[in-house]
Each structure stands twice: as structure tokens, then as C-alpha cells.
Symmetry: C2
Subunit: 135 residues, 2 copies
């Protein structure tokens, strides 16, 4: 006899707003749940795991589209091996993150530069424009 949870309990357990869980279901990253007679969604431990999985993947920066692919493979009854797919996804994501990090490093330096200039001297030019954001 499996324990059953309502969406609110699951939301609390997984640390995800109920609204977001419904949205995930609509968006196709979570399978449609069973419903009890009153129409409430019913979740078991397995579903909670699914939600956590999605959350982890999102936390790793995967898009819902990517998660969709992943779960399609995971839950698909075909014998598809998910390892190569996951590998590709993670690889793509990793290079995206590396690039993003590089850009942010640059951005930080620029901001520090602006800050330094702001400390040193008046930033406003005659016509009201601001030299501090000049490049």
C-alpha cells in the first residue's frame, strides 16, 4: 500500500511551489498524475522523486526542453540508453556555463572599473551624459 500525497504535501517535501509542479505537468516534463475522486492530483514516492529530479536538473541549468528530452528517455518504455544523451546534454551545458562564467568575469571587471572611476572623480560631463559608462 503506497502512501499518497496531495500536491501541497509534495510541494513542501520537494521544496517546489505547487503551482510550479502543475506547470511542469502542463509543460510535459512531469507525467500526468493519477487523480482521486475529487479531482485532486495524487502523488506517490516515485512522483516525488521525479519532481526532485527535474528540480536538480533545472538547478544544474538545464532548460525544461532539455529536461523533457531526458525524462522522455528515462520514462520511455523503449530500451533507449540515456547515457549518451545525458553525456551530450551535460557537455553542452558545461561549455555554456564556462562561457557564461568568462563573460561574468569580464563584466565584474568592468563594473569594478566603473566603481573605481566613480570614487575618483565627477562622472557627469557638460551635456549631462555620463562618462562613467563610457567604454
Amino acid at each position: 500500500m503506497a502512501r499518497m500525497f496531495t500536491i501541497g504535501q509534495v510541494a513542501k517535501a520537494a521544496g517546489v511551489p505547487a503551482k510550479t509542479i502543475r506547470y511542469y505537468e502542463d509543460a510535459g516534463v512531469l507525467p500526468r498524475t493519477a487523480r482521486s475522486v475529487n479531482g485532486y492530483r495524487q502523488y506517490g514516492d516515485r512522483e516525488v522523486d521525479c519532481i526532485r529530479f527535474v528540480r536538480r536538473a533545472r538547478g544544474l541549468g538545464l532548460s525544461l526542453e532539455q529536461v523533457r528530452k531526458l525524462t522522455a528517455v528515462l520514462h520511455g518504455d523503449s530500451g533507449t540508453r540515456m547515457r549518451p544523451i545525458l553525456r551530450a546534454l551535460v557537455g553542452t551545458q558545461l561549455s555554456a556555463v564556462r562561457q557564461h562564467r568568462g563573460e561574468l568575469r569580464l563584466l565584474q571587471r568592468q563594473l569594478e572599473d566603473v566603481q573605481r572611476r566613480l570614487r575618483r572623480r565627477a562622472p557627469a560631463s557638460r551635456n549631462g551624459a555620463c562618462r562613467c559608462l563610457e567604454r
Copy 2:
């Protein structure tokens, strides 16, 4: 006699799509331009500077809302000094960037971890879940 440009010329000059310039105007980060008889927007050098300013600020990660505040101060006829405002904005932005960078560093490590595990051993568990995204 000031030179006048159409939105297309300005777009090219500033490296910003014409569509985006119109959007900026609608969004209130750029002042409404003068129009010539046929209804075309007219831009002068000053307007081009404004657009570039917005672009630079956006490039530094400021939101349009922040840019709006900034330009309100810049173009406001009040004698408001923009330096303290800019300083606050840049400070906020800088700490946001630093935090974001920290998160991304973590994320990168996690992804590399997943990648390492993917290389080493089979990721799928009996029930079809994937241990590689477990934490």
C-alpha cells in the same frame, strides 16, 4: 544644422536592431523622438548617444528598470546628481554578479562531477532513475 538619421541608420550606427530601439522608446528608457512629416522617427547625434548609453548599461547587466531610473536622473531637468544613484546601482549589480559567479562556479563543478561519473560507470539504476543527477 544637425544631421538627422532614420531609425535604420541609427540601428546600424549603434549596433542595435531598429525593433529594439522602438521597444526601448516604448519601455520609457529612451525619450520619444521627433517625427518628420511622414511619421518617421528622427534621430540626431544626441539620441544616438542615448541609445549607446542604454546599450552599455544593459551590457553591464543593468535591468531596463535600472536604466530607466538612471536616464530619468540624466534627462531630468532637476539638478539631481546622478553619482550616488549610479554608485548604488553599480554596487548592487556588482554584488549580484559576484554571487552569480559563485553559483556558476559551483554549478560547473557539479557538472564536471556528473561528467566524470558518466565516463566511469553505468548511470541508470534498476527502476530507470538516473543516479548521475543525484546529489
